[in-house]
Symmetry: C2
Subunit: 205 residues, 2 copies
C-alpha cells in the first residue's frame, strides 16, 4: 500500500464544522410529538443544501437523565437521534457508532414533545465521523466514496481525528462534521476553521 | 530538524489515563470549606505516587451554572481547579490552558463547601496535556522534559492528541493524562488502554 500520508489529498485544507446533538423526525413521529398539521419554524439553513435547523426542540429521555435536543428538517423516512458519546453516557442511552440511516438495532429512548411522546425502539446513534465532498472535488483530490481519512483539527488543543469516512455526493459542499466531544477536545471556539487532511486510506476493493 | 515521526520514542506504547474535573485545595481553603481540623476521607490512590482522591466534593460555581467537583489530596500551596473545555463553557468560567501550578491570571469561580465558601480570584485552568515519565524511562526513550509529543489514543473513535508536554520526574510512572473531553472524543470506555507515541518535537534549545 502507498504511504497514506503521500496521497494527493494529503496536506489539503478542509473546512471544519461541528454540531451538537440533534434529532431528525419522521413525519409520523413529528405528528405525534407536535400534532398533525403542525408547521415547524425554520431557524437557519445548514451548510448542506436543503437542510435546516428548526426552532423546535424535543426532550430525549434515557435511563439516567433527559435533555432538550434540537429538531432538524426536513422529515426523514425514519427518526434518527444523533448524540455524542458523552451525551449517551449522561442520559443512559446506548449510542452505537453508525453511518446516518443505518439504524437497525441502534439505541432506544423516549421522545417527548408538546403534544405527545414516542417510545423509540431504535434510531439513536453516534454518527460516524465523515467528510462531505462533491463528486467534482473528490475527483480533483483523488478521493472515493468509502475511503477513510485522518484530519488534523485546529484549535487551542489540536487533535487529529482518524477513521473519517469520505461521503461523495453531487450536492455536498466539502467539509468535515465533528460532534461536540471532538470539538471540545480540540478547544474549537468557532465554526469554519481550517483543518488539514493528513492521511488517506483508500477503500479496499 | 529530524522527522518527528522518526524519533526513537516514536512507535512506543504509553498507558492512557483520563480524569474528570477536580480541585486541589490549599490548607487555608480546605479549612474554610470543611472547617479547621477536618480530616478528609481517602477514596483511592491515584496513579502518581502520593496522590489520592477524597470522598469529599465541593461546588464550583461560575457565571452560568455550578457543578460538584471532587477534591484531590494532599493539599497544595495554592488552590487549583482543573476543568475540561466543556466544563468551563457550561459553567461560565474561563479556563486558560496552563501547566499545573502556573496560575497567575487564570480563571475565577466560587467554591462552596459544607462549612463555608471561597471567592477564588485565580486558579481555574484547563490543564495542558502532558506525559508523565520517570527520568530513567525518559533517558531510555530519548525524551527530555519540555519536549512536545503527539500520542495516538485508542478507542472506538481514535484520535491523536498533539502538543503533549513531556514532564520528567524520578517519581513519575509513565502515562498520558487526558481530560474527559479528549477521552469522550476517542470514545474511551476504560482507563489504562494503550496509546502510541507517533511524533516527538524536541524542546528548542
Amino acid at each position: 500500500m502507498t504511504n497514506p500520508a503521500e496521497h494527493p489529498a494529503s496536506g489539503r485544507d478542509v473546512r471544519v464544522e461541528y454540531s451538537a446533538r440533534h434529532v431528525h423526525l419522521s413525519q409520523e413521529h413529528q405528528d405525534v410529538l407536535f400534532g398533525a398539521g403542525y408547521q415547524m419554524t425554520r431557524l437557519k439553513e445548514l451548510s448542506q443544501t436543503g437542510q435546516y435547523a428548526y426552532e423546535e426542540k424535543v426532550i430525549v429521555k434515557g435511563s439516567k437523565d433527559q435533555a432538550e435536543v434540537r429538531v432538524l428538517g426536513p422529515c426523514r423516512a425514519q427518526t434518527q437521534v444523533e448524540l455524542a458519546f458523552s451525551d449517551g453516557f449522561k442520559l443512559g442511552i446506548e449510542t452505537p457508532l453508525r453511518v446516518s440511516g443505518d439504524l437497525a438495532g441502534t439505541g432506544v429512548c423516549e421522545l417527548i414533545g408538546p403534544k405527545g411522546s414516542v417510545n423509540l425502539t431504535e434510531g439513536v446513534i453516534n454518527d460516524a465521523r465523515h467528510l462531505h465532498v462533491s463528486d467534482k472535488e473528490a475527483a480533483e483530490l483523488g478521493l472515493k466514496h468509502g475511503d477513510a481519512i485522518s484530519v488534523r483539527v485546529p484549535g487551542e488543543t489540536p487533535i487529529t481525528v482518524h477513521d473519517v469516512a469520505v461521503r461523495v455526493h453531487p450536492s455536498f459542499r466539502m467539509n468535515i462534521h465533528l460532534d461536540t466531544d471532538e470539538a471540545n477536545a480540540a478547544s474549537l471556539s468557532r465554526q469554519g476553521m481550517t483543518g488539514t487532511i493528513v492521511e488517506v486510506y483508500p477503500k479496499r476493493a
